[in-house]
């Protein structure tokens, strides 16, 4: 079976000489929800930008990225960007249109869809994230949680096969975090979630990758990795509290 995401020996150096990725390789199968853990500056965001074909334009990249079996190349970038929905860390970077409706409809309009289909997708996406009725709200007047959900609606409107999320719960209050986790759980498709929220990783991602200093240092079942205290401490992480109260049967997480 063709992996949905395949990364082989990916290396990336920023123009200032910083080596952000040093030979990263992994595969993600269809329908998987995979967590990407690591300390600040470990290369998580850099890796996610590669999956959407953004970074190779601005630095020296080496290695191979395949999305749904197709090698990432300049010719198939539009197709790749349609397949991979990328949620940015700061929602203010991602919500660049004046109103929620304009922003959510941006992707479908870029795809050249007829206006009726754009409106249908807009309604479906806003309903999916619980923002129906806020179509005409100015994006800079939304709360942080609403901004996050509007960003997700913008991705869902493009109907991507893969969701790549960079710190989706950062800056959210406990209720916002809980609601976003419930929303992510409901969303179908393959997901790769970079996060510092280890509870989110335990609750949503059966498998995790650990990245540190641009290297993939661990890949395995989330509960096993997070229970390995030595591994966690060595890579700037810690064993989350939730594991102490975890049900002994992983299927009940």
């Amino acid at each position: 079976m063709i992996p949905v995401i395949e990364v082989q020996d990916l290396r990336y150096r920023y123009h200032d000489g910083t080596e952000a990725l040093r030979g990263v390789s992994f595969r993600v199968e269809s329908g998987e929800c995979v967590g990407l853990l690591g300390p600040n500056g470990s290369g998580k965001s850099t890796l996610l930008l590669h999956l959407n074909g953004i970074l190779p334009e601005h630095g020296s990249a080496d290695g191979l990225v395949r999305i749904l079996g197709r090698t990432l190349e300049p010719e198939n970038l539009p197709w790749v960007r349609q397949q991979v929905g990328l949620l940015f860390q700061d929602p203010d970077d991602q919500l660049f249109c004046a109103t929620v409706a304009e922003d959510v409809a941006f992707g479908p309009r870029q795809l050249g869809l007829p206006e009726a289909e754009v409106q249908a997708r807009l309604e479906r996406a806003l309903a999916a994230v619980g923002l129906s009725g806020l179509e005409d709200r100015a994006t800079h007047h939304l709360s942080h949680g609403e901004k996050r959900r509007a960003c997700l609606a913008g991705l869902l409107a493009c109907e991507p096969a893969i969701l790549v999320l960079d710190e989706p719960t950062s800056g959210l209050d406990p209720r916002g975090r809980r609601e976003l986790k419930a929303l992510l759980r409901r969303l179908p498709g393959t997901k790769l979630i970079a996060t510092h929220d280890l509870e989110l990783a335990v609750e949503l991602c059966p498998r995790c990758l650990v990245l540190d200093q641009g290297r993939l240092v661990a890949d395995g079942p989330t509960v096993d990795l997070l229970n390995d205290e030595a591994l966690m401490l060595a890579h700037g992480l810690e064993r989350p509290h939730i594991l102490q109260h975890l049900h002994p049967h992983p299927n009940h997480v």
Partner: protein, 202 residues
């Protein structure tokens, strides 16, 4: 801090509900008509000021808010008046120039605060203004608030660690804040471009 645009509540009065096309056309006529006047012609300025006052009253925009906007823009009026006062001979008197500039600014302030920006962009699109210019305007309007909030956060952070403010040091700090803001704005612009690419911008 009260940020620009926070006073603007779309469709809160009859004037807000007027089609943006009418308001834009009316403002354009007032601006062009005012620009070509060489004197304070009562036949022109009388009805125009009457109309502007009526629009201001009906739009329910607070007096303090409109006055503060005019005050923010007053350096432009002053610059125009000063340029007029220093001109050797000929042309309109400085106070005529000041009145014309004030009339134009009031028109623009009333138009901008009774018409949502997205509606203005729609009118521009109908007028076949180039798409690139419209995208630039839309992005500018979207991010001016983010930059203002960032400026305010930096101001607070600076105030929190300014124990003995001195005039010379203050200018140095202000220059540093402006420099940092520019760098942050450039970094953000790069991330916004990435976000646009990620959703198929070409």
């Amino acid at each position: 801090m009260l940020l620009p645009g926070h006073i603007h509540r779309p469709r809160s009065s009859g004037i807000h509900r007027w089609p943006a096309e009418w308001k834009f056309a009316g403002a354009l006529v007032i601006l062009l008509g005012t620009v070509v006047q060489s004197e304070l012609t009562p036949l022109w300025f009388g009805p125009v000021w009457g109309l502007l006052m009526w629009v201001w009253w009906r739009s329910r925009l607070p007096v303090g808010f409109v006055m503060s906007r005019l005050l923010w823009l007053s350096p432009f009026v002053l610059a125009v008046a000063l340029a007029g006062a220093w001109r050797p001979v000929g042309g309109p008197a400085w106070w005529v120039l000041a009145c014309k500039a004030f009339t134009s600014l009031l028109t623009v302030v009333l138009l901008a605060n009774t018409t949502p920006f997205s509606e203005m962009l729609r009118v521009f699109r109908r007028l076949r203004v180039p798409g690139l210019l419209l995208s630039t305007l839309a992005l500018m309007h979207r991010y001016v608030f983010v930059l203002l909030e960032e400026t305010e956060r930096m101001r607070r952070a600076r105030a929190g660690r300014t124990f003995r403010p001195g005039r010379s040091r203050l200018w140095q700090i202000q220059a540093s804040v402006v420099g940092h803001l520019l760098i942050r704005a450039l970094a953000r612009a790069s991330r916004i471009y990435q976000a646009m690419l990620a959703r198929g911008w070409s």
